[in-house]
Amino acid sequence: MERLKSIHEFERLQERLVIDRDPNVPTIVIPAGTCGQASGANDLIRVTKRELLNKKWVDKIHLRITGCNGFCQMEPSVLIEPQRTFYPKVSPKDMIRIVDALAKDQVLEGLLYVDPRTGSPIEKQEAIPFFKSQVRTILSRNEKIDPIRITHYIENGGYSAMAKMLALGKPEWVLEEVKTSGLRGRGGAGFPTGLKWEMLARQPNGHGKVLVCNGDEGDPGAYMDRSVLEGNPHSIIEGMIIGAYGTGASEGVFYVRNEYPLAIKHLLIALRQARELGLLGEHILGTSLSFEIRLVRGAGAFVCGEETALMRSIEGKMGEPGQRPPFPVQKGIDGRPTLINNIETWANIPIIIGSGAQDFAKIGTKQNAGTKIFSLVGKIKNTGLIEVPMGMTIKEIVDEIGGGPATDAKLKAVQTGGPSGGCIPTNLFDLGIDYESLTQAGSIMGSGGLIVMDEKTCMVDIAKYFMNFLQEESCGKCFPCRKGTQRMYEILDDITTGRGTLESLDLLEELATTVKDTTLCGLGQTAPNPVLSTLRYFRNEYLEHILHKRCPGGVCKELITYSINQNCTGCHVCLRNCTVEAITGTKKEIHRIDPAKCIKCGFCRSLCKFNAIDVI
């Protein structure tokens, strides 16, 4: 495509793209983000292409390959437009039927999503409970766009926020809009974005200012940034161009972890296309704005998501946090003023500029405007990426979107904010999710992981898991962080193996407070959160481990024994499958587990259909 030389040329291109598209042509949308591809979306794409070619329906039915739609549990899924029919967990054989049915304008009832509560099938995507309660301002764009085609983004209103801003020609207006919107940094700390931008705009422009997109998403179980970058890379590029105009920056850096190959691939394609079209580089759309973006791949250290460590990593040094002040906005990469925002924050910018700050501020609560993407995982029925307005209660998220507990076991807590976050018990489920209330409850917003846990989860074990993660991912610079996380892990390990004492509990608390107080960066300061929050809400479980050497969740192997109760029908299933031959018994009689041989793997329990295996 030819380089666009003026705002007018861009608008003409956009108009032409919209006119050329016929919204009534049936389109098969296949989400093929990393999650989709892992569950077989590539096979569906292959089958669909073959069918369309063989049957010469290429003009009659269109195919669009997009990023993740969020309902990861139902991948690989297919969406039919414009009818908006949603088919979950589609097999390649079903795909052939779907294509045939679409040609005849039919809906395959048998393949539709079935609501587990009512048992009745639901046709439209919007009617599915998982999608119904969400406000999808960012994620809804994923399904409209093929991330490797810039034309898709432009015809869906992409880059028009940028064109609108350039036509207006007032950088101060951009700053004012972002400030009015009330957008706060989505990376976790929740610093007001407009304020940060204004601080950068006020810095003297010595050797050029730098904008950074922080794509180093390292929390276990969190992948919302990956999905946005995979599904809609242009929205982030547009956000950064708007940021460059508002703050006077001349260079942008994408810092993306190398573990996200698909995101990097899509991003590189997007950058090339934007450059070719004249949306990046010297004199964007013929205006005085010049902005270039480069990509730096992170080597996957958790700590490099911290902004000072991230800057050092970009400079090519070891990823180690540094002293603030001076803040990055004053002295950042190579001494130049640097502004760092998270992927989700950047993705919000075109929406704010495009549809107005006032509209954006209306979503969510007063102090916490807009939506937030969470990755909802754990022991609930529907797992996946969700986008909800700020201030929505945990209860609504877990019950309505998540569909409630996955098994008969009651829910116990939800863990927010990844390894640096904390656990919130069910009696606080009426808490609206925003930065302040989560911090008050002893957790953090973090980048947005929500892990739901039920009664069969041991809270001490959870704290131990996160502490193990942190003792490996701490950069090791601050002595109390490096040794403190290691010592906390040791104490937790003692407790879960029955060697804990009441004194060790005091020591654990004392140590956790010191680590929180004395460390340099966000990682260290929040590292004790898993310990402190579980101690605050689930102290009983700790005491149970220490005083009675029992694990209420039935998780800590040293403290539990497996036995078979009266429900046993003697079906032999457990006996046949026990890998260490610890189960004995004759057919149709109650079996027995030999505790000396049992390795407590839990396989028998997962196989038993009669609930006959107890864990004490």
Partner: protein, 225 residues
Amino acid sequence: MVMLFINGLEVSVEEGTTLLEASRFYGFPIPTLCHMEGLSPYGACRLCVVEIGEGSKAKLVTSCTYPTLEGLRVRTASSRVVNARKMILELLLASCPQSKTIQDLASAYDVRQQRFKQEYEDCILCGRCIRVCEEQMMAKAIGFRGRGKKRDLGTPFDLHSEVCRLCGACLYVCPACQLRCTYTTPEEAICGGCANLSPPCLKKEGFEDMMCFMEPCVACETKKD
């Protein structure tokens, strides 16, 4: 000049002074391990923490790296500060009990117990050796490697570095390894001297000719004969 309050005392210092320098100048002692005059501040040991700010915004920062700011209120020995230092010293004692420096500091802060599993490490990863090698010796022969509990330091690939001049400055500045002639138990009180003089952080091969700053050292003289 910057005006600030240290422990309630109004003081003024030149711009660019760190809190540690200012506090020490006005006679408020602050313990340090990783700090050394002539080397850039690093803030790894966290012993030099002081409390700044008021009310709910009060926080601990390392005085060696924190700049003096106009009107800042600093407390160098509040109970929060002292408790934090005590816990850090306890952690240090648990990992590196042989170091005379750490023993002395612990004693000065009345740390009388050590409740963690005892380890016997030689290095606290304070980074003094790395900084002296880079900033004063202009060699950059050693550096940090890895992260988290696997973090350690040494030459690239543990091979004898071509840029290492065996100057021994790294040994000289080490705050943790003053153990050599000062073992704690009587039977080990005989000077182990140069028998131990391989930098704990470096492999011994290739460093036999390392210069020794522990003079006069009998053990060394004896070995030469």
